[in-house]
Symmetry: C2
Subunit: 223 residues, 2 copies
């Protein structure tokens, strides 16, 4: 695979092509910063959009849910899914209502979602998802048992047809609006962690781990 | 409409029904706190999931984009769309990798998305979307012209088939894992504004408005 994703009919941007990105670096950075995707698929002609946790491993996305999850079962059966990850970076305040916008980075990835049946690949994927959501966490946790691995459904979507879209920066106002006595600019938004909340079963001898005390998203984070 | 949404085949929760909510208050609060939804629809048998800005007005969701936007055009043609809004409230750290989870509130709404053709309804919807993203903003901005209204596509999805799903609180560990020397609990996540960034055209006489200086999401926010 080259460093540019091939542009297909679905990943070519017809509007505002300057916002489009097809390089793997941008696509991977967005996928690595988010951890909840929206998975779209059709069941008997009707469309579903379901939020799921995920992790990227090389050029694959692993989606994760309980084996009993009806949505995941359908996604696995679907010929074709669309997985979208959107990071909202801010709100854009133009002088006109019309030119208001949102700063964001998003990725859309298309393809068949295949159920992972190999237990070793499943366990690697589950570890990847936990460590993607909380970097370093699985060094401390009890690994999944064979029963737990069976009870989990993992889907793999190979990133062969994906594109990114990015909007950044100030509003784009009509030239004649720039003299209006209206503030224009943008307000950045960040995802910030609050204080970790221990549950009722943490003994005094167990310290708060650094990944919870100073929770951060993986590299690529804008915050 | 009663205060409970009717439960249909699509909004009945088959797994973890305790996480399901069908009351309008919960559904509306989630929709009012978010401002980016993921809209799923099928084009020639293939599924798309597109992020869009929106606002709720009474029992309708207005989705908003440029008239030239191919995705919106397709959504309007679709018999059936699924709109999902997901608020990520935190990460849940269990003692086992298997029981890790995410705290979230989400809404899925199904139905036909109809293009709004009445110019007055369109203008009301556009105002609602801007004021939903930045509460109070349209009191200061130039209203849309007739040309701008024509250049904008507004879709309406009536909230007749919608449900919410909510996960909160601590991990649910296996009883035998509670004695492991592993920290368990959750880390709340919040969306926080950074300092507003004026663009290059704000004259010194124009002050930073309160809605930008102290940017807040509408009522219902957990932050």
């Amino acid at each position: 695979m080259t460093d540019q994703q091939p542009v297909t009919d679905r990943t070519r941007l017809r509007r505002k092509p300057d916002r489009g990105r097809h390089d793997r670096e941008t696509i991977h950075a967005i996928l690595d910063e988010g951890f909840v995707c929206h998975v779209g698929f059709a069941v008997e002609g009707r469309t579903w959009v379901v939020p799921m946790a995920y992790a990227r491993v090389d050029d694959a996305l692993y989606l994760h849910g309980a084996a009993a999850n009806a949505a995941l079962k359908h996604a696995a059966g679907a010929l074709d899914v669309c997985v979208t990850v959107t990071l909202v970076d801010g709100v854009v305040l133009a002088r006109s209502a019309f030119h208001h916008s949102i700063n964001y980075r998003s990725v859309m990835a298309f393809g068949p979602a295949a159920t992972v049946t190999d237990d070793e690949e499943k366990e690697r994927a589950l570890t990847a998802v936990v460590d993607h959501v909380v970097p370093g966490r699985t060094a401390d946790t009890r690994p999944p048992t064979a029963t737990e691995i069976k009870a989990t459904r993992v889907l793999r979507l190979d990133l062969t047809e994906a594109s990114a879209k990015v909007r950044t920066g100030p509003p784009v106002d009509e030239p004649e609006d720039l003299d209006l006595p209206v503030w224009g600019g943008h307000v950045p938004l960040f995802v910030r962690p609050g204080r970790p909340v221990p549950d009722d079963h943490v003994p005094p001898s167990v310290p708060l781990p650094a990944y919870a005390e100073d929770y951060r998203r993986p590299a690529g984070s804008s915050s």
